[in-house]
């Protein structure tokens, strides 16, 4: 017999360490430990058995992997933390003595920023690892870029976040690697694909964020510090791989004037890729040399546009441009050649689609103008990322526009987000003042410049998500927009897909079944409808007269008779459900009169008043008897029967399984049913809506 093993020396007891133990081992304070964990990406673990992992009798909640803590023990930051602590003590001592000068000197001396470079390399050994973890970083940095500066959030941090975000956006614009975007009620989601990694992040709408008391900015600050370092290095790598200088030049003047994307000027490296640099300069929205020639007349701009038109990269005509792109494609040698199999018996190897350039050419031929009320920042970013070179906007929206003249004839698309005026005079009202050197053209609100397409902002998003230009008339100002759908939801079997027609998704007989139930719900829905229309009226928005009240009333009349029996039938059905027998319920194919009789008998047994039963159930059954064998009824009965049989079958088979397997199955079935139930509810809602619409 071997030696008796001592308890707590091996296995889980050794592998896990509680937080208190970890803090004690590292000899740091809890906030410092937290910072360290955030920087190093150390997270608590869930031991398989908490009891085995903890040595004390009181239950510990947080466990760390012992190796992790051991690894933290060698962290150079730990020494820095201790130095900081010592320095803080010195400073406080000086302050206590009233030696302000000494304290200031010490503070200055100790103000060296923590360098997190080694941690970045440590946590992300390869660049792809870093890209994979960029989701949270971008979301947080974009949030901080949009925060007002407070005592807890220094303006420096915000400025850094803004610059890093702009730099990252510039990279996406340059490489056209933005893939998808989605307008949600939380903010705008973007998805980019860099080196095969999908990066999804969320940018809030430009509103002041509500700060609640339970948000600890120290923790967020720690994350921001780490993420800024990370994004800095990522940006460096991204820029250098495409031959750009990092950091790009920062135009503070433009930044102060709200230039945003315009505030950063990309510069190429050396002479290798002059062409590319040209194209980058083209990105700076028409103001290629705005710095050198600050005062330019409108005519000059026009001329420049003309030259751009002539250039190979910018076309106004769609067809022409597409032709040229095809020509370019053929010229390129980097592209993959397609392999055609010669023999019939050969296997076909899949090849990636040569579709990288589609994103870059979607909006390339157009000139956009953003109206005052549209969100400039996301629109500019998206349009540019999808190839648009010339974007103008109202001067209010900030610096860096291709043109601020709304009446510019080169504009092909205008993005508008205002309600249409009652009368739309189709003439151009331009008030020109020739005396001023830069002639300002002002389009009065409500007037429309002819010869351009007016769309609502959603058009841009829907276009890029489907990667094709959609019909603009659906998105015309004032039109009821089609629903905006998330591009990330993949249609799965059994799940509800709003884009597919209802009939394809329904279970067989679901519609007939549902017809019966929708009687009383219809009334409710009607009420709702009325309320809604009231609301809409209050809003002052003209609602299209969709399902007016008489129409719904008609509907109800139509259904009234057939539906009537529904309630009377639902009860026996449920009864049969509860009856756990194999015998096919004899009630299912009996006359409704019988069921009614049965119900009366039941009521009697239950001790209900006769009148009560009458009021409760008899009002409609009278009708139901008259026209009992409706289509919906039969379908429902059939479905109920089938369902019951299926259930019985399942129960029977389950009885033969082992306990563990049965539990697994139950779990799976539960979740599947949950999903199915959700899908079914959605289908039911849609059915109702469609029925109301007629």
């Amino acid at each position: 017999m071997g030696r008796i093993k001592k308890k707590g020396t091996a296995g889980q007891a050794k592998n896990f360490i509680t937080r208190t133990q970890a803090v004690r081992k590292l000899q740091v304070s809890l906030p410092d430990f937290r910072r360290l964990c955030i920087y190093k990406g150390i997270y608590p673990r869930e031991p398989r058995s908490k009891k085995k992992a903890s040595k004390s009798s009181t239950p510990s909640t947080t466990f760390y992997y012992t190796r992790d803590i051991q690894y933290l023990l060698h962290e150079p930051l730990l020494a820095k933390f201790r130095d900081h602590k010592a320095l803080a003590k010195k400073i406080s001592r000086h302050l206590g003595r009233g030696e302000v000068g000494d304290a200031a000197r010490l503070e200055k001396k100790g103000a060296t920023k923590l360098s997190l470079d080694h941690i970045i390399k440590d946590r992300y050994p390869t660049f792809v690892d870093a890209l994979r973890d960029l989701d949270d970083a971008l979301s947080l940095l974009f949030l901080f870029a949009n925060l007002p500066s407070t005592s807890t959030v220094p303006p420096k941090t915000i400025a850094l976040c803004q610059r890093l975000c702009l730099e990252f956006e510039h990279y996406l614009i340059t490489t056209n690697s933005l893939r998808k975007s989605f307008l949600s009620i939380k903010g705008i989601y973007y998805q980019a694909t860099i080196q095969g990694q999908d990066i999804l992040w969320l940018v809030p709408y430009k509103f002041v964020q509500r700060v609640t008391g339970d948000v600890d900015f120290r923790i967020m600050g720690t994350f921001v510090e780490f993420y800024t370092t990370l994004l800095g290095f990522v940006n460096f790598r991204l820029y250098t791989t495409i031959g750009l200088i990092y950091p790009p030049r920062f135009n503070a003047k433009s930044y102060e004037q709200g230039g945003e994307l315009d505030a950063i000027v990309l510069e190429g490296r050396g002479i290798e890729e002059p062409k590319q640099i040209e194209s980058f300069k083209g990105h700076v929205n028409g103001e290629v040399d705005g710095g050198t020639v600050p005062t330019k007349t409108n005519e000059e701009i026009q001329k420049q546009i003309a030259t751009i038109k002539e250039g190979p990269n910018a076309e106004l005509d769609v067809l022409e441009g597409q032709d040229q792109y095809q020509a370019l494609d053929q010229e390129m040698n980097d592209a993959i050649d397609t392999f055609e199999t010669t023999g019939d018996d050969a296997d076909v190897l899949p090849q990636p689609q040569a579709g990288g350039n589609e994103a870059g050419s979607l909006f390339a031929p157009f000139t956009f103008f953003l109206s005052r009320e549209t969100p400039r920042q996301p629109l500019e970013f998206i349009l540019r990322a999808f190839g648009c070179k010339r974007i103008g906007w109202d001067a209010i929206l900030g610096d860096g526009a291709f043109t601020t003249n709304e009446a510019d004839p080169t504009i092909t698309h205008q993005i508008v987000d205002r309600p249409p005026m009652a009368s739309l005079p189709e003439e151009l009202q331009v008030s020109e003042s020739p005396s001023d050197p830069p002639p300002t053209t002002v389009v009065r609100p409500g007037y429309r410049v002819p010869g351009r397409t007016l769309v609502q902002p959603q058009w841009v998003w829907d276009c890029i998500n489907q990667l094709k230009l959609l019909r603009p008339d659906l998105y015309a100002p004032g039109a009821t927009l089609p629903p905006h759908l998330s591009p990330w939801v993949k249609p799965t079997k059994g799940a509800y897909d709003p884009s597919a027609p209802l009939a394809e998704q329904e279970r067989e007989g679901e519609a007939e079944e549902a017809e019966g139930f929708s009687d009383d719900e219809d009334e409710e829905a009607q009420e709702e409808e009325v309320e809604k229309s009231d609301d809409a009226a209050a809003d002052g928005v003209a609602l299209a007269p969709s399902a007016s009240t008489p129409a719904t009333a008609d509907l109800q009349d139509d259904h009234g008779m057939t539906i009537a029996g529904s309630e009377s039938e639902s009860e026996p059905a449920s009864e049969a459900d509860s009856f756990a027998g194999f015998d096919s319920a004899p009630e299912s194919d009996t006359d409704p009169t019988l069921t009614q009789h049965q119900r009366e008998l039941e009521a009697e047994a239950a001790g209900l008043n006769f009148s009560e039963t009458l009021t409760k159930a008899n009002g409609q059954p009278v009708k139901g008897i008259l026209k009992g064998s409706g289509k919906g009824d039969e379908a429902r009965k059939k479905a109920a029967k089938r369902r019951r049989e299926e259930e019985e079958e399942l129960e029977r088979r389950k009885m033969m399984m082992g306990r563990k397997k049965r539990k697994v199955l139950d779990k799976m079935l539960y979740s599947n049913r949950q999903k199915e139930g959700e899908a079914e509810a959605l289908r039911a809602k849609r059915r109702k809506i469609e029925a109301r619409r007629g």
């Binding site: 947080t62 949270d136 979301s139 994350f223 990330w488 709003p498 409710e524 697994v664």
Partner: protein
């Protein structure tokens, strides 16, 4: 030795003190004087002490000379003092006031109380023997307050014209003290000695006179000089070095080189610094750079210049990404995603942490109407918290079709027919129905219960055909038909008795055949008894009596304990009985044709529960509490011990095929044994919530079996056994039959299958039997 007499003496002295005190106080006309007097008095007292001591020593022994010299001196002094006093006394005798000297003088001269007597000691010297002092309260008033002047706070000059200076506490006049010798004072004032101060030295009581030295010090102070005599404030300077250059140097040594040659060492050190500066090791001081805007530009470099992928560690769990938004998060979702009023209300009513969606889907018909999302910052913060605070666990998600987990079962159509509903109800028994059996032809149902009657019913109609009361107190425990359609015989166990009877139902021919079969044994019993006389038969088969015989009860024999189980051999020749309480005679095998009872087991391990014949082979199975043993009847040996693993077997049944066995137990289990496979159960089924009472296979070729339980339900199973050895039996639960009511925790007590149809009869504790079809 000395102190005691001294103290005694002193106490004796103090007796007189009031007077002395009075004198003393009256002495103080002035504060100063009083203080002076006090000092003097204290001194005088010291003197007196010394003197007393000397006196005593003188008195006590001749060795007093040896004691000390000072003492003798003091004695001399004291001798002198009285003389002085006497002189004083002469001066102020009639005054009756005395100074301290006077009092002392008084002490010395007249001692009025003769509290001692003088004897002569051994040497002839006088010896004083003092009387004992009575230590009364007032015997020692040394701490009595001194006499005080009571005139209060008024100047003493008011009393200048009076001979007294005030009054004591008793109202007596305090006499003015004597002012000394006026003439002496006058003389003194004329001839002022050097150093006279006019003050009295408080230490000595004599006029204070300053010495020559002191006078000198006073003078110096007056002259603003340093009081110390020898101190010279301005001593003459002693010049240790001279400022004048000597014309002749002290040393003739030439001046050393180092005086005018620059130091090599120094130049080395300087050059070292110079070199360091040239090399850039020492930089000139630069004031620290002020923070500029460029601080934002952190040094960036390609950190992944030489990247090296690290193999993934199993303990490293990367943070899970947030799921992408769904349709319901859209600013303008399809209308079916919008919540209706009920959903909205439900969402609002639920607690914020319990909502499964943190937002309500809302639709905005234009982008400009989309408001800011209130919880954006909070959600980001919570994500941050999750990233560093949430434990990460890898969970493999099972993403398979649940159908694949389910076992493949024969279709429902294949499983039919089986009993589903209660077709007939047999009422009539008073109390529980303990047992029932369907006769081999499938027409009759026999039942027996707590009321002691055996009843025969028509199975299909539920009509009672015949009944007989066999027990008055004992219940009918078992009712079993003989498995033969030719002769109808019913075996009944009532208490300890077993009856064989031929109920008068159905065909009279069959009935007579049954009677014949039973009667055949009577003769054999008579013959056999003679041949096998040596061994006592286990029991005697008898006729039950005329009354019962008329009713059809033909044979009766009794065993020693209550018979619980009867089971017939397939041919109908033998049947076995089990009396669980009996020890050696628990299991008995009875031969009908011989009217013979045999006890095959001398001793059984455990309590016998049930016994059964194998359907095809000469094998006999006996179930004890925990095991089932199978015996080969021909070889008379133990074949196998089947271990169901149950606590208490209630009943078992052998499959008609003979290779399978079902066992019902009181611990709610139904066990299927494949005898070829193992002695352990092939399947353990636990679908009952109470004990299982009876189990039965269908004997007529249908793959069915059923069990009856105390929870009032019967469960029907499909149990198909394939002849192929390789294939396991298929067991499918089919139906739960409920109908019997549970009475006193007892539900269904027995069941039996119809011999050919898929019908089941059950006996309930509620006094009914039911036919399930």
């Amino acid at each position: 030795m000395a102190p005691q007499p001294y103290s005694k003496k002193r106490k004796a002295l103090t007796r007189d003190s009031p007077e002395a005190d009075e004198v003393l106080l009256s002495d103080g006309g002035d504060d100063f004087e009083i203080a002076l007097l006090n000092g003097i008095q204290s001194q005088s007292e010291d003197d007196r002490d010394e003197e007393d001591e000397d006196a005593s020593s003188d008195l006590f022994g001749g060795d007093s000379d040896l004691e000390d010299e000072g003492g003798s001196e003091d004695e001399i002094v004291s001798d002198e003092v009285p003389s002085d006093e006497e002189g004083d006394l002469a001066d102020v005798k009639q005054n009756d006031t005395a100074t301290f000297r006077a009092t002392e003088g008084n002490d010395g001269v007249e001692r009025p109380p003769p509290n001692h007597k003088i004897t002569e000691d051994a040497n002839g010297n006088p010896r004083y023997i003092y009387t004992e002092i009575d230590p009364v309260y007032d015997s020692d008033d040394s701490d009595a307050p001194p006499t005080q002047n009571t005139i209060g706070n008024i100047p003493l000059s008011f009393y200048d014209s009076y001979p007294h200076i005030g009054y004591d506490i008793n109202g007596k006049k305090i006499a003015r003290p004597a002012k000394g010798e006026a003439l002496d004072a006058l003389l003194d004032s004329i001839e002022v000695p050097k150093g006279w101060t006019g003050l009295t030295d408080p230490a000595t009581g004599e006029p204070l006179e300053l010495s020559q030295q002191e006078l000198e010090i006073l003078r110096r102070i007056q002259m603003n000089e340093v009081p110390d005599e020898g101190y010279d404030p301005y001593p003459a300077t002693v010049e240790y070095f001279t400022g004048k250059t000597e014309t002749m140097p002290l040393s003739a040594a030439p001046e050393p080189k180092r005086r005018w040659i620059p130091s090599k060492h120094e130049s080395k050190r300087v050059m070292k610094i110079v070199r360091a500066i040239r090399e850039g090791k020492i930089l000139p001081y630069k004031p620290p750079r002020e923070e500029t805007e460029d601080e934002l530009e952190v040094r960036r470099y390609d950190i992944w210049a030489n990247e090296l992928a690290r193999p993934d560690h199993p303990m490293n769990v990367p943070a899970p990404k947030l799921p992408p938004p769904g349709y319901e998060q859209s600013y303008h979702p399809p209308p079916e995603y919008l919540p209706d009023q009920n959903e909205k209300k439900a969402w609002e009513d639920t607690d914020e942490e319990e909502r499964n969606q943190e937002f309500l889907p809302t639709s905005h018909d234009a982008l400009r109407k989309v408001p800011g999302y209130e919880k954006f910052l909070k959600e980001r913060f919570e994500r941050c918290l999750d990233l560093y605070l949430a434990p990460r666990v890898r969970r493999s998600k099972l993403n398979i079709d649940p159908e694949s987990l389910l076992p493949q079962l024969p279709s429902l159509e294949e499983l039919r027919p089986f009993p589903t509903t209660c077709a007939t109800l047999f009422r009539g028994h008073d109390g529980r129905v303990r047992s029932l059996a369907v006769d081999p032809s499938g027409v009759w149902l026999a039942s027996g219960g707590d009321d002691g009657t055996v009843r025969v019913w028509e199975l299909l109609t539920g009509r009672q055909i015949w009944s007989v009361k066999l027990g008055t107190e004992d219940a009918v425990n078992v009712v079993r038909w003989r498995p033969s359609t030719e002769a109808i015989i019913l075996s009944v166990a009532v208490g300890e008795d077993v009856y064989l009877l031929v109920p008068p139902v159905g065909d009279p021919e069959i009935e007579t055949k049954g009677r014949e079969v039973l009667d055949a044994g009577w003769g054999y019993a008579a013959n056999g008894a003679t041949s096998n006389a040596k061994k006592e038969p286990a029991t005697q088969w008898t006729r039950p009596g005329v009354r019962l015989e008329e009713e059809g009860v033909l044979v009766k024999f009794s065993l020693r304990k209550t018979v619980k189980v009867i089971s017939w051999h397939r041919r109908g020749e033998y049947f076995s009985t089990v009396c669980p309480q009996a020890q050696s005679s628990a299991v008995a095998i009875h031969t009908i044709s011989k009217h013979l009872t045999q006890l095959p087991f001398r001793k059984l391990k455990g309590l016998a529960q049930s016994a059964s014949f194998h359907p095809s082979k000469p094998i006999f199975l006996v179930a004890t509490q925990r095991y089932i043993r199978s015996y080969d009847l021909s070889k008379q040996e133990l074949l196998k011990i089947i271990q169901p693993g149950a606590r208490w077997i209630s009943s078992f049944d052998v499959h008609p095929g003979g290779d399978n066995l079902i066992v019902g137990t009181y611990d709610r289990r139904l066990l299927w044994h494949d005898l070829d496979l193992s002695v352990r159960p092939f399947k353990v089924l636990r679908y009952h919530s109470k004990a299982i009472r009876a189990v039965k296979f269908h004997q007529g070729g249908l793959p069915l079996f059923a069990d009856a339980s105390d929870d009032g339900s019967l469960q029907i199973f499909h149990g198909k056994v394939v002849g192929d050895m390789m294939e396991n039996a298929t067991i499918v639960p089919l139906k739960v039959l409920r109908g019997h009511t549970v009475k006193k925790e007892l539900g269904v007590l027995d069941l039996d299958w119809h011999p050919t149809q898929p019908w089941l009869v059950s006996a309930g504790a509620d006094g009914t039997c039911r036919l399930w079809t």
